[in-house]
Amino acid sequence: MTETTVFKYTAKDFKSDQEVRWCPGCGDHAVLSSVQRALAELNISKEKFAFISGIGCSSRFPYYMDTYGFHSIHGRATAIASGVKTANPELSVWQITGDGDALAIGGNHFIHAIRRNIDINIILFNNEIYGLTKGQYSPTSNKGLVTKTSPFGTVEEPFSVGELVIGAKGKFFARTIDTNINLSTQIYIEAAKHKGTSVIEVLQNCVIFNDGIHDTIAEKEVRDDRTLILKHGQPMIFGKNNDKGLILEGCRKLKAVKIGENGITEKNILIHDANEPNPGIQYMLANMKYPEYPVALGVIRSVEGPTYEMSVKEQIEGVKKTSKIKCMDDLLKSGSTWSVG
């Protein structure tokens, strides 16, 4: 493939012949469309994509993609994807997972892949519920949520995905909403281009077991006032009338303010720097919750760093250059040997 090759794909080229079996109205349908759109724009040859999933509703995803795909076992997709990418760094590897798959049973693999900075793109469908097993609470369910396994409300603190990613030394974290196809598509493209582990949290609606869980911020009438779409290098302004923004209060806390009130002008509003290695502000952005704050969407953190698979590759190339052992026969004869006869 030469650098000038342009693949003229459309989203349709990435659709498999399988009938999509998610519930009507499920947020997964929109995610599938956004991903197919993003892939068409990436200018990567189709056979280079590999989609790896674990177990959960979203994990059926690879069957619906006309790419290489591997639907694996619960929680382990991160480890399998890590193996695929380390074996062949040329592939564009995508992991499809959910809040249970990635953060409960697969929590260990999730944090370690991020720590290693393996160049895989992890799309984490967060519906704050277990759908495939029909409605039990998940590690992201809000405290107090009543479900089949928490009939009196959960007594557990939920994980915040962004907080966990940054805590695990994550270098790319973005958040989107299933229904916002344009924003999602853009984020998937940026995630694909980022070298290193990219985690995209998709606020996804489970129409059966947790319907409307994200409505407070996602509904059309309110979403502009209750979400902030971050753009690198741009002021953190939101609101239907673009009259709200974020400032840093006392150098340690974010504050949502109205522009034009209390002497606040656009100049006071923070500028988003996704590339800042110090995660301080990005961490605060990732953790913002309505109603005190708007929920941050877009690419919150995107920082360069060496990737695992390339470091492995370089180490092998380096040792190959200096070692006297070039093949098995060399190794077999190396060290202390003696001859008989």
Partner: protein
């Protein structure tokens, strides 16, 4: 070299180095065996050490031992009883007293037989008399004080000085067996390249021991073991873990693939991961995963991406990998899972040997989930069976479970190095563009293996997974399809029988008693059977390396013997397996579950009882 008052020429001899786990006994034993091997002896070694890196000093639980069996003829075991025991402390006497041959030689470090250490080992005053060892050839050597004296001008701290005690003892043993010091001295030069002082100190201690032994001449008799008569070729000493690692690398080269190992450190399998991690020059990708599950899952990912993928573990780790092995069975991806068995259940006896994971290997998964199961039987044949495991996995598109054990993993023996051209080429069933439209579960008629379509090839995009599916890879809940797929996967594994050698009988093909073993007990079994044969008994041996499927001729072999005894280091797992597969025979059993290998005596006693009709 010094004069020796009495020299005894022996066919074979067993030496055991024993001391605190910090005394460097493993290194001492290894240096001695390497020297013996270079001299041309056949040998077999067995390290025996506690799980704690530094167990409480001076206690029996903290004793670390290394046994070397060398000889003029073929040596198959590290030996039951030792001719020479080197005991660095009283606890070493306690741990080994019953394993010394009557009248054998005991060299001990007098300086370490303090009141406190004697008490710690559980003795009142004098370990030698309390164990009734007075009539043995006992040499109380002032090893501690001698090294202090020898190294007084080196300016070393007292700790470093005492650390050379093992080399003093080794020097004594070299004199006893009339061995050259050169190999060991070269080793010091290399090891302490940047610390010439330490290299010199160790050399001085080694020589001091050698000359001390010569001077006291108390070390009688001395032993002479002539070189063994072994086949022509180039040899090296190798342990089971290294041989296993090398077998995988050889298979990768023969298949034209890169090797990937995803693994999590676990005793006693860690050596395989370490050996492969060091081989970046041969392109090995080693992935130290966050846990056992990630170990196999990263490997499975690499297999999907077209690598020869292996994962190494031991019993508890195999339990954790079960679900992913099931996925490999369902996805029909090649992978080798090497289980270096140790004492179980649970954490059990991590540094000791057992053959108790056989049923886990065969059946320890949900669903109908057959895999090929192979077991290595000597430290050096771990190379061959690792190669075979990889070959079968790749050519049949199936997971293969390879069983080794702690005894094989750590034991060493001389190995005739093969040349790569002697090994067969491995031909995985790669899919190419002629397969478009690609059906991931279409099989060849012969092996029933599916084609391996590696991501990156245009037109072969496909999906696989852990759900039941049709030949197209489409998820299917159709009852008849499920039954057909289950049977096809089982039949694929069963057909491996056409690829494996028939069962070989050591000895006459008919007789009074057939000793049946599998895997790592081979060395003890063949030694016992040979001795019984020499004594005139009609006893033969078969040792299984291929467990699932078993060789085709089991029935034909078994039916020629009056009695069959299955010997294994467990409660009878292989015997039970044979009862399932070949119900027509009656199986006697010899079992041992002490974390130790059999002794030749154990086996001979049982056989003689059976032969006498008891």
């Amino acid at each position: 070299m010094g004069k020796k008052s009495e020299v005894i020429e022996r066919e074979e001899v067993v030496i055991r180095f024993s001391g605190d786990s910090g005394d460097g006994m493993q290194l001492t034993g290894t240096l001695f065996s390497d020297t013996a091997a270079l001299f041309g002896n056949d040998l077999s070694t067995f390290p025996d050490y506690p799980a704690e890196i530094r167990a409480p000093q001076g206690t029996v639980g903290g004793v670390s031992g290394f046994q070397v069996h060398l000889g003029h003829s073929k040596i198959n075991t590290p030996g039951d009883f030792s001719d020479v025991l080197v005991a660095m402390n009283p606890a070493a006497i306690k741990a080994n007293a019953k394993w010394i041959k009557p009248g054998g030689t005991i060299i001990y470090d007098e300086g370490n037989f303090t009141e406190k250490n004697i008490e710690k080992a559980g003795y009142l005053k004098d370990p030698i008399s309390e164990e009734n060892l007075e009539n043995y050839n006992v040499i109380a050597a002032p090893i501690s004080s001698m090294v202090k004296e020898a190294l007084k001008d080196f300016g070393l701290d007292p700790k470093s000085v005492l650390r050379t005690k093992n080399m003093f003892a080794l020097g004594m043993v070299y004199w006893l067996f009339d061995r050259q010091l050169k190999y060991t001295e070269d080793y010091f030069e290399k090891k302490f390249k940047n610390k010439p002082g330490m290299a010199e100190a160790n050399k001085v201690a080694l020589r001091a021991g050698y000359y001390y032994a010569e001077t006291i001449e108390a070390l009688t008799p001395t032993y002479k073991i002539l070189p063994a008569e072994i086949a022509k070729g180039t040899y090296r000493n190798i342990n089971g873990n290294s041989a296993t690692a090398w077998g995988f690398m050889a298979a990768a080269e023969k298949a034209g693939l890169d090797l990937f190992i995803g693994s999590y450190p676990i005793t006693p399998a860690t050596g395989i991961l370490e050996e492969l991690a060091a081989r970046k020059d041969l392109g090995v990708k080693s992935f130290q995963a966050e846990d056992e599950i990630a170990g196999i899952c990263t490997s499975l990912g690499a297999s999907f991406a077209g690598h020869l993928a292996v994962t190494s573990t031991s019993g508890p780790g195999l339990a954790l990998k079960s679900e992913a092995i099931g996925l490999a069975v369902m996805a029909e991806l090649p992978i080798v899972i090497i289980n270096v068995q140790r004492g179980g259940p649970s954490t059990g006896l991590p540094t000791k040997t057992e053959q108790t994971d056989l049923m886990q290997a065969l059946y320890g998964r949900n669903g109908e989930c057959p895999v090929v199961v192979i077991a290595s039987s000597t430290p050096s044949d771990c190379f061959h069976f690792a190669f075979e495991a990889a070959r079968i996995a790749l050519e049949h598109m199936t997971p293969v479970l390879l069983l080794s054990d702690s005894y094989l993993a750590n034991g060493t023996e001389p190995w005739r190095i093969p040349e790569m051209k002697e090994l067969p080429k491995i031909k995985p069933p790669f899919a190419d563009k002629s397969e478009i439209p690609f059906l991931p579960y279409k099989r060849d008629d012969d092996k029933l293996a599916r084609k391996w379509a590696i991501p990156g090839i245009p037109g072969l995009e496909h999906r696989i997974g852990g759900l039941e599916k049709t030949v197209k890879g489409t998820v299917s809940y159709v009852p008849e399809n499920h039954e057909e797929m289950v049977k096809l996967r089982a039949e694929k594994v069963a057909r491996v029988v056409h690829e494996i050698p028939s069962l070989e009988v050591y000895g006459a093909k008919t007789g009074d008693l057939l000793v049946v073993g599998w895997g790592g007990s081979y060395g003890y079994l063949i030694t016992a059977v040979r001795e019984l044969q020499e004594e005139g008994h009609k006893v033969s041996l078969v040792n299984f390396n291929y467990i699932n499927p078993m060789p085709w001729n089991v029935k034909a072999v078994f039916s020629k013997f009056k009695k069959i005894v299955v010997c294994e280091l467990n409660m009878g797992q292989f015997a039970d397996y044979l009862r399932i597969k070949h119900q027509e025979f009656k199986y006697e059993q010899l079992n041992k579950i002490q974390g130790l290998p059999f002794t030749v005596n154990d086996i001979k006693e049982k056989c003689i009882k059976l032969l006498e009709g008891k």
